[in-house]
């Protein structure tokens, strides 16, 4: 039985998996100890639980358990990485390289660092959403101390060539940070093979609780040091003070363990459903465009622009489906998606985009329903669209003198 509304916004957040919740519950009540209490069993129990979570995470990303710092989520991990490296390595250089399609948690942080005297290069991306490695190499200067490139993009799902970036960073002795909030738990990650020195991740994107995440910090070759943002009890090897959020950390660990076990099968299932949805939409509608690289992307992502209809009104017509749009009208800034604009997608098509995010609890029935409803809603709005009418009359919309407002 199809249950409405349908949730198809898994890039935004995910529900806590019941199995994850189950493991968390005792740590709110009977096992409530402080992991930093070294003198009694309450503390030891908590410490053991945190140690287990570290192992589960280390297993998933192939690192040492001592290389994991718990934070409140990927935004904090990104801030800590960038500001921490900037603070610690300032003597060495003042240049940072990142990309225009990074998450705001990176871009707003680099903006702040620029005000503090750092030079930041924002690499462009191609029409497929990927950075160019030669452009990256050319951007490196003797002053470069950090390269920060995401693993998978939150809007269009494209997967950057992280292993190649890691190799370039290593050759030049530059620290490489990777925002993997959308990648960890979804695609295989091996920090050594990928040459990653710092990596941000989050629990709530992978069926864990909100408000907890982590930062991988390389300990050997090179040993990465960070200046802390939070002063306090010196938790997490001094990089992030504050009493550990034990129940959430337990949840993060369990979420990682489940992802590791189920990833391969789950990716096949998601890709099949995603492709079905894509084919359904593309075969029944003309002038729809896939945003981002057609292959190098997450199996759960589908980002499509529907020419001649506006994203917000489209979502209004699909109100029983939870989706995101690149339309300006859906944001506080009244600007269409900067990610889509960076791909060279025109403002008109950026306004017309929908992001479908599939996940663990998405069913084939939901996919069929969403496909059918999207086609209906687009057709209805095109019927109502003066642009569609003009295009059908053969008028080149680019040649029209519009009244900008």
């Amino acid at each position: 039985m199809l249950k409405l509304p349908v949730y198809m916004d898994y890039h935004s957040t995910t529900p806590v998996d019941p199995r994850v919740l189950e493991t968390m519950l005792p740590y709110f009540s009977e096992k409530f100890g402080n992991a930093a209490s070294k003198n009694h069993s309450f503390g030891w129990n908590a410490e053991d639980a945190v140690a287990k979570a570290r192992e589960q995470i280390a297993q998933l990303i192939s690192c040492n358990t001592k290389e994991i710092v718990f934070t409140s989520g990927a935004t904090e991990s990104n801030n800590l990485s960038l500001k921490g490296v900037a603070g610690m390595y300032r003597e060495k250089g003042n240049h940072i390289i990142t990309a225009v399609t990074e998450h705001k948690a990176i871009l707003d942080t680099t903006k702040r660092l620029e005000k503090e005297g750092f030079e930041v290069t924002y690499l462009p991306v191609g029409a497929d959403g990927l950075i160019d490695l030669e452009t990256l190499k050319a951007a490196i200067t003797p002053q470069t101390i950090l390269i920060s490139i995401m693993l998978a993009n939150n809007e269009i799902g494209v997967i950057q060539p992280v292993a190649e970036i890691g190799k370039i960073a290593k050759e030049k002795g530059i620290i490489f940070h990777c925002d993997a909030a959308q990648g960890v738990g979804k695609i295989p990650v091996n920090v050594d093979e990928m040459g990653i020195d710092l990596m941000s991740f989050s629990a709530h994107k992978i069926y864990g609780p909100k408000g907890v995440g982590g930062l991988y910090v390389r300990r050997k070759k090179p040993r990465v040091r960070l200046s802390a943002m939070m002063d306090g009890g010196g938790h997490e090897r001094g990089m992030r003070s504050g009493t550990l959020n034990v129940p959430s950390i337990v949840g993060l660990g369990e979420a990682c363990a489940i992802c590791e076990t189920e990833m391969e099968q789950e990716n096949l299932r998601l890709a099949e459903m995603r492709n079905k949805l894509q084919n359904h939409i593309m075969s029944e509608l003309d002038e729809v465009y896939l945003n981002g690289h057609p292959e190098k992307r997450l199996a759960q992502n589908l980002n499509i622009s529907f020419a001649y209809v506006e994203g917000e009104s489209l979502m209004m017509g699909l109100k029983e489906i939870a989706l995101s749009s690149g339309s300006a009208c859906t944001t506080a800034t009244l600007e269409p998606s900067y990610v889509l604009r960076a791909l060279g997608v025109g403002s008109d098509l950026a306004h017309s985009s929908l992001r479908f995010g599939l996940g663990r609890f998405t069913t084939h029935e939901e996919i069929d329903y969403v496909g059918k409803r999207v086609v209906e809603a687009v057709n209805r709005l095109r019927e109502m669209s003066p642009l569609y009418e003009m295009a059908k009359e053969g008028i080149d919309l680019k040649s029209v003198q519009w009244t900008e407002h």
């Binding site: 209809v309 506006e310 209004m316 339309s327 009208c329 008109d348 306004h351 109502m384 519009w402 407002h405």
Partner: protein
């Protein structure tokens, strides 16, 4: 964003959606907005003896833009050109309970009425 019931009603049941023959001497067509800005409105008025007999719209834009133009067609029908010219965007804002970020939708609707009237006048100058 939460929409008012009236916006939802116009979005779900648009009034006078469609097109009139733009070559007809009695039809004035106004197209305002730009695709890059996320909204374009086309408003057409069929005018006879200075009175608006019929109106049609097509809109590319958010729900508020669609509702504003749908409402505009309802309001202009039966009005004289001069009366229609007096319709203010603030009246549309009030009727539809548009939030501040959507006021530009009502401005666009007012502009569309004026653009359609002036197109009609230009056509009939000669």
């Amino acid at each position: 964003m939460a929409y008012s019931d009236k916006v939802i009603d116009h979005y779900s049941n648009p009034r006078n959606m469609g097109s009139l023959d733009k070559k007809d001497k009695d039809v004035g067509t106004g197209i305002v907005g730009a695709p890059e800005c996320g909204d374009v409105m086309k408003l057409q008025l069929k005018i006879s003896g200075g009175v608006i007999e019929d109106a049609r719209f097509k809109t590319f834009g958010c729900g508020s833009a669609i509702a504003s133009s749908s409402l505009a067609t309802e309001w202009v029908k039966g009005k004289t050109i001069d009366e229609a010219f007096q319709i203010k965007n603030t009246e549309i804002v009030n009727e539809l309970n548009l939030p501040p970020v959507k006021i530009h939708c009502s401005v666009l609707a007012e502009d569309a009425i004026k653009a359609a009237i002036s197109d009609y006048k230009k056509k009939n100058e000669a």
